[in-house]
Amino acid sequence: MAVIIFLVIAALLVAGGFLMSFFWATNDGQFDDTYTPSVRILFDDEKPAENHKPL
């Protein structure tokens, strides 16, 4: 039954990894601006240049 102890530790390590990535994200400034990304994600990819008419 020692497997449960092993599992708990493993689970904590995995979760700890995510906690680390949360630290990284926060210090990287991902939570500084929570609005603009919601606008940014709506942009389509570049249109092909067919409507480009030189003047």
């Binding site: 906690l19 601006d33 603009t36 940014r40 389509d44 570049e46 249109k47 409507n51």
Partner: protein
């Protein structure tokens, strides 16, 4: 309906193309500026700009920035703006007020496609800040700024741009990290505590091993909760105790009972874990800290896209032309010769070297009409030049000028006073003492009855009495209130302001721009009457000129019929004359007409017909809609006063609403500040409503300073709240609702006290088990929060705030 009658919307900005639209391909543009932007975007294949939002552009009709950004060529001035610079890369953050839609985000983040040398462009939409990094060998700052201005996104650069304000981000990030870490620990601790809840029987050796393992793991997981998550409360409590010991204050910060509770939980749980080898209250501890931090986060929420901290530096230009170079305005010395152009601000008190100048002081003094200055006269800083370029000799440093001296006043040096009674702290004083007393009595009682229970019951009392629910109800109620105010375009700086609002008993108004509107002035003809025919003649003549006053006159006289102009002459800065239907009409200032009496007032247009003086047109500012009702409502409950920088012309209109002694005109900014201070010394708590720089001192000195603004994004002086002018009429509702909110907070205090009594009841009898605490403590917190938010919502509904 013919084609001419349909309105044609500009393809770029959506404005009505009056007059002659410029047509390119099948698209119409209202002005050349808009067309240019379209061409630039088309050249760079960026026309999806128009697909994201129709008419996304910013109108460029009134844009004129020729030479405005020349000072950016100066290396020293450039360096003050840059966030970072090396040989290969420069980084700069620009504030762009015109940003308004997703197209703006898209275009500006694709800026590198328009301009070579740009590495990255990143936009913060709410703050309206564009962060750019670029290659200084390929492009310079001036080119970038000018291109942005051409596109309609003119960056706002002023004296304050050079001061890189410490970012709020660090505090915010620490709190987010604390919440994250404590949340993580809380989840795991609760999970590991589950077996304990279901009473694992410890008969087998395996189960006992597990129990021990879970216990020690819980202890480890609680260390970051106590030492990182709760650190601010512990520190706050220690500081507050120290201050009390040194007799600096007799206020017990609310941090003390909280820290007491947290420490009791930690010590008792550690004891249980290591001495009794039984479950501690780890889950309660983690949950408690998590709730506290969430409340703190809610408390910090503010409108970070609005600025409440502006001083004169936000209005003053960054640099000014001195001799042949440019100089940072704050480095100006006595004797420097500066050149100022049309619409630019005079940065320092200086002598006029040119022949004459018209200075618009409306923003500084509240006086609505531009003032004429002659050669050799002293011009005070803060005025805006109207008309031709002038040269000035600086007399005083910027920080010592007549206007900016206001900011040297004590009122600006002190932190602004918080509400007289800080609810949570006032409460905590009694709370702490009562809790300690109960703990003491309990301890003494069990000492004689059952000595084994002393330790458990005393710690249980301290644990359960922790005023968590109490500290949560205040931020959540106030935050909800702030949100409802915001929906009604009343933006308060922080939660303290709402508390201060409840204590107000006197209100001081500014006139120009506050009771009256800033924009919609209306024209009025005084000192005489004009016949229909004369009106026709004047209208026809005025139509010939592009001067704003001529345009206003033409619009004022609209519908009087047409007349032919056979001669027309305009003398710049003076007036116009012409022969209309055989009559000689002259329109202009006093000098032009040849009047000797009276000073030159730029907003007056005098009329002479066939060498006979007929009177003058003058611009009057209109009062805000419903201003009378608002004043009447307020009059009933508050001591009212009006301090205006303008002349006493409007006294008659205002008399009914103000006491004679408190209806003051021709007040300087310093006078306004002093007036507020005098009222406060007489024991009143004053609300000041103003709009301009001239009110800055008064707004600062007052208990609550509200800046009224027709565009909340545009600048307003440092204040506690910004009210959109369109909702001026709701002022009384806001004041009333702040009191309602305070009532709700008090009600939820009572509710949480009830919980505390129940909890303490268990605690004194020594019955508080870890499971009970784990269920009871979060439940009481949650229900108090729900009560507070729900009641606020309900009352906002009743008062029609939503």
């Amino acid at each position: 309906m013919t084609l001419n009658e349909t309105k044609i919307a500009c393809y770029h900005c959506g404005d009505d193309c009056t007059g002659n639209p410029i047509v390119l391909e099948d698209k119409h543009f209202c002005c050349h500026g808009c067309k240019t932007v379209y061409e630039i975007l088309q050249d760079n294949n960026l026309c999806s700009y128009y697909d994201l939002n129709q008419h996304a552009g910013v109108s460029l009709k009134s844009a004129n920035f020729n030479g405005k950004f020349d000072y950016l060529t100066d290396e020293k001035i450039q360096a003050q703006l840059l966030d970072f610079q090396s040989k290969t890369i420069h980084k700069v953050t620009l504030f762009i007020p015109a940003i308004h839609c997703s197209s703006c985000v898209w275009l500006l983040e694709n800026f590198h496609k328009i301009q070579v040398g740009i590495f990255t462009a990143r936009l913060n939409f709410l703050r309206k800040e564009l962060s750019l990094s670029y290659d200084p060998s390929k492009v310079n700052l001036q080119t970038i700024v000018e291109l942005l201005a051409t596109l309609g996104y003119e960056p706002l650069i002023n004296l304050q741009s050079a001061e890189h304000a410490p970012k709020q981000n660090k505090v915010q990030r620490r709190l987010i990290l604390q919440i994250g870490v404590v949340g993580f620990c809380m989840g795991n601790v609760m999970l590991l505590s589950f077996p304990e809840y279901f009473k694992l029987d410890l008969n087998t050796i395996t189960d006992a091993t597990y129990q021990g393992f879970f216990l020690y793991l819980n202890f480890l997981l609680s260390l970051p909760v106590f030492f990182f998550g709760a650190s601010d409360y512990l520190k706050g409590a220690i500081i507050s105790i120290k201050e009390n010991v040194r007799k600096k204050t007799n206020v017990l910060s609310v941090d003390i009972p909280i820290a007491l509770g947290i420490s009791a939980l930690f010590v008792r749980s550690t004891f249980e874990t290591f001495v009794n080898h039984s479950a501690g209250y780890w889950d309660s501890l983690a949950g408690l800290v998590f709730f506290l931090l969430t409340g703190k986060w809610v408390q910090q929420v503010t409108y970070n896209y609005l600025s409440f901290e502006r001083n004169y530096k936000s209005y003053f230009p960054l640099a000014v032309k001195v001799n042949d170079g440019y100089k940072n305005v704050s480095a100006l010395q006595k004797g420097d010769i500066i050149a100022i152009h049309h619409q630019e601000l005079i940065p320092a008190d200086s002598l006029l070297l040119s022949e004459r100048a018209y200075i618009d002081y409306s923003f500084v003094t509240g006086e609505s009409e531009p003032i004429k200055k002659e050669k050799g006269e002293l011009i005070y800083a803060g005025g805006r030049l109207i008309g031709e370029k002038v040269n000035l000799a600086v007399q005083k440093k910027v920080s010592q000028s007549y206007l900016t001296e206001l900011w040297n006043n004590d009122a600006f040096k002190k932190e602004k006073k918080t509400p007289a009674i800080d609810l949570a702290n006032a409460f905590s004083k009694y709370f702490t003492y009562i809790t300690l007393a109960i703990a003491l009595v309990t301890g003494i009682y069990w000492h004689f009855v059952e000595p084994a229970l002393v330790w458990t019951s005393v710690t249980a009392v301290l644990m359960v009495a922790c005023p968590c629910a109490l500290t949560l109800s205040l931020p959540f109620t106030m935050n909800t209130t702030m949100g409802f105010f915001g929906r009604n375009k009343f933006f308060v700086k922080n939660q303290n302001v709402i508390q201060s609002m409840t204590e107000i008993n006197a209100i001081v108004f500014d006139k120009t721009g506050t009771l009256t509107e800033n924009k919609n002035g209306y024209l009025h003809f005084e000192n005489g009457k004009l016949s229909e025919q004369e009106k026709q003649q004047i209208s026809a003549l005025a139509a010939q000129s592009v001067h704003p006053l001529s345009k206003m006159i033409h619009q004022y006289l609209v519908g009087v019929g047409k007349a032919t102009v056979s001669y027309f002459n305009e003398i710049k800065g003076m007036g116009i004359e012409g022969i209309v239907e055989g009559g000689l009409i002259r329109l202009g200032n006093t000098e032009f007409i040849g009047l000797t009496n009276g000073r030159v007032e730029a907003s007056q247009v005098h009329v002479e017909i066939n060498h006979e003086y007929r009177g003058y047109f003058t611009i009057k500012s209109a009062y805000r809609k419903n201003w009378k009702e608002v004043l009447k409502q307020l009059q009933a409950n508050f001591r009212m006063a009006l301090v205006s920088g303008d002349n006493a012309e409007e006294k008659e209109n205002l008399n009914p609403y103000f006491d004679k002694n408190r209806l003051l005109f021709n007040q300087k900014p310093q006078d306004k500040l002093d007036f507020i201070r005098k009222e406060q010394q007489a024991g009143y708590r004053v609300l000041m409503i103003g709009d301009g720089l001239n009110d800055a001192g008064a707004l600062r000195q007052s208990n609550v300073g509200i800046a009224l603004s027709e565009d909340v994004q545009a600048f307003s002086p440092a204040c506690d709240a910004i009210l959109d002018a369109s909702n001026f009429a709701r002022l009384t509702d806001f004041l009333q609702f702040s009191k309602t909110a305070l009532g709700i907070v008090k009600a939820s205090f009572l509710l949480s006290l009830v919980y505390n009594f129940i909890g303490i009841g268990w605690a004194v009898s020594g019955q508080l088990s870890p499971v009970m605490a784990a269920i009871f403590m979060p439940l009481s917190s949650l229900s108090v929060v729900l009560f507070a938010v729900g009641m606020t919502y309900l009352f906002a509904r009743l008062k029609k705030l939503i």
